[in-house]
Amino acid sequence: MDLLEYQAKSLFRQMAIPILPSQRIDKPADLKGLKIPYPVVLKSQVRAGGRGRAGGIKFVENTIDAVAAAQTIFNLPIENEYPQVLLAEAKYNADQELYLAVLLDPIARRPVLLGSRQGGMDVEGSIDKMQQVAVDQEFSPFYARRLMLKMGLQGDLIQSVSTIVEKMYRLFVEKDLDLVEINPLGISPTGELMALDGKVTANDDALGRHPDLAALSGKRQSSGLAGDRRNPYVGDDRRNSNSKAQQSPSQFDPKSQSPISNSESLQLIELDGNIGILCNGVGLTMATLDAVAHQGGKPANFVNMGSLDRYDGANALRDRTELGLELVAQDKSVKVILVNILGSASKSEEITAAVAGYLERKARANRHIQVVLRLVAIDADAVKKRLGQLPVQLASTLDEAVAQAVSGAK
């Protein structure tokens, strides 16, 4: 979960990382009660990068200008996101701007410290100047000093900047973060340091043990930031209206929330073809999408049910599978649903029951949809009996299932 700048900075304040005096602005009129002296910087609080270039950051000299600028920024979407909050911050004249970050290297399975003397907006353009130090054992401040020397810092800056890195690292560990970034860290002509902008990404799996961070995510959702996502649950189906925590990003937005952590939810991902896909597991879902594309078919959408062990209660797997079928079928362009859920034989029975139950209900509601059911290690005769005259084609291999789905969707 990405935190907004003002949320990241409040964590910096807790760690005694220096930040400028600032004030949160919920509506333009709040600027009338501004306690920071002008000139002031107004910053759009969105997760996207490049806010400055997009017009989301404005310098203002007085209240009238500030209110007008705030109105403009509140009405300016950046990468489809409207800010709910602005941050008003004192202006700062930095002599030099550094880049600092702490994150995990998944290959080395160690935290790494990153740093560059080319901070600010140009950092991506000078990646080759970026230095890194892996924290391969228990952290100690010398790792931070090692980074300072690699970056080419000298004199008092070695100690003062490495103290900031040390605090970033402590924050990273204490709060289970995926990323702590300060860009830029401003250095004034007198050598004073200031975290001018910051980015913090919390790890979704760890949110359960950080109620303070989890509360930020709750605030974000209720604030309607996800308002541009259309709600696909318009049907009057009882099961849909009862189920909780479903979400559907309307596009593959790299900044949308990870669907993985919430085992209660089923997430529908929409594409633009006519085959709905229901699978379990990321790898198998990818393989199934690949096989459909390889065969010349086009997936309309997909739902990854995740690990079947999540569905433990009586009928839980059956209910979830039916919900998954509902989700993929609500798009009217879906002609065929391909069900490829791999598990032990007992799971296959529950899935067959779900497909049968779903199609029987649809038949009563006069919605006709074809299902290709891929089943492994199960008594085919018993399944055929259970499915009767329902519009289901059975397949035992992935290739066969995909071929049937693609030809059925033509």
């Binding site: 990068g49 890194q132 860009n183 379990n280 597991g281 990321v282 393989a287 594309a293 032990s344 492994v376």
Partner: protein
């Protein structure tokens, strides 16, 4: 590595949930030598002949040295369970639980390296040696004994490929899923090396994702250090971009940080495999065909 049917196996979190109890019984039914379970507060009970203890060290005191533990406890207790097992002298750990915070894994990996402990998972169905040993939750239906080693980063996709192998008459010497989370306890490289040295393995299948960092690292490792034939299957050629699919990425929203730390690899995401001359199957059913070709050459 001790993966013989006689090796002693502990199950931590044996009464944690119906799923964990089922998993323990499934292992036992498969022939795995499950000698004890641990569930704090349930010590003294027994589960269909498996004695349950409050502490790992009590289990070790009662049954003697334990080779492997399978961890099924709640995600936030995985690190503690693993450290407890290491403290009790257990050197092989399979973690089935998903959703373990990455920094817990960092601590565990450091400890595992210092004690030469082999960790697989988290978020893994574990290891299966067909008809001999099950350490985790692989459904037995997909596997048959043979000489192909399967190494994967995905659970259900492992079953899919195993099934294709089984149907094509290529049994498996072992299938291991190193775990589906972003940070996992052992690497593709470790397992490639283990299976390269394993006498019952003739050839290997590597299952991963297109463009994955660990997959690319594995490709160069195969070229430089592996003697046995290897075939890869990489899912995600046509998959949409973004975190909606793709494994538990540590989603780095800072492009600068991501570029530096993870490196922006070649445009052609298959390049590492092409350079290493590793055949890459376009779909699971192609894996046995490519393997047979390589085995014939040998």
């Amino acid at each position: 590595m001790n993966l013989t049917p006689e090796s002693k196996v502990l199950v931590q979190g044996i009464t944690e949930s119906p799923a964990s109890t089922r998993a323990a019984l499934m292992m036992k039914a498969y022939g795995t030598n499950v000698v004890a379970g641990v569930s704090p507060g349930r010590g003294g009970l027994d589960l269909e002949g498996i004695p349950i203890f409050d502490l790992v060290e009590e289990a070790v005191a009662a049954v003697g040295h334990i080779d492997t533990t399978v961890i099924l406890v709640d995600a936030y207790w995985v690190l503690d369970a693993a450290l407890e097992a290491i403290a009790a002298g257990i050197r092989q750990i399979a973690i089935v639980t998903e959703g373990v915070p990455p920094l817990d894994l960092v601590r565990l990996v450091r400890k595992a390296e210092a004690t030469e402990t082999l960790v697989i998972g988290p978020n893994s169905p574990g290891i299966i040696v067909p008809d001999k040993l099950l350490l985790g939750t692989h459904p037995k239906e997909f596997y048959t004994p043979g000489s192909i080693g399967v190494i994967s980063r995905s659970s259900t996709l492992t079953y899919e490929v195993a099934l294709e192998l089984t149907e094509a008459g290529l049994g498996q010497s072992m299938a291991v899923c190193i775990g589906c989370d972003a940070i996992v306890g052992s690497s593709f490289m470790q397992w490639l090396q283990l299976l390269d040295e394993d006498d019952s393995t003739e050839a290997m299948v590597l299952i991963g994702e297109v463009g994955g960092w660990s997959e690319q690292a594995a490709a160069s490792y195969i070229a430089s250090a592996i003697d046995k034939p290897v075939v890869a299957y990489l899912a995600g050629r046509y998959a949409p971009k973004g975190p909606s699919l793709g494994h538990a990425g540590i989603l780095i929203s800072s492009r600068a940080a991501a570029q530096k730390a993870f490196g922006v690899k070649a445009q052609n995401k298959m390049a590492a495999f092409e350079e290493a001359e590793i055949p890459v199957a376009t779909r699971p059913s192609e894996v046995p065909k490519l393997l047979k070709k390589l085995l014939k050459k040998k």
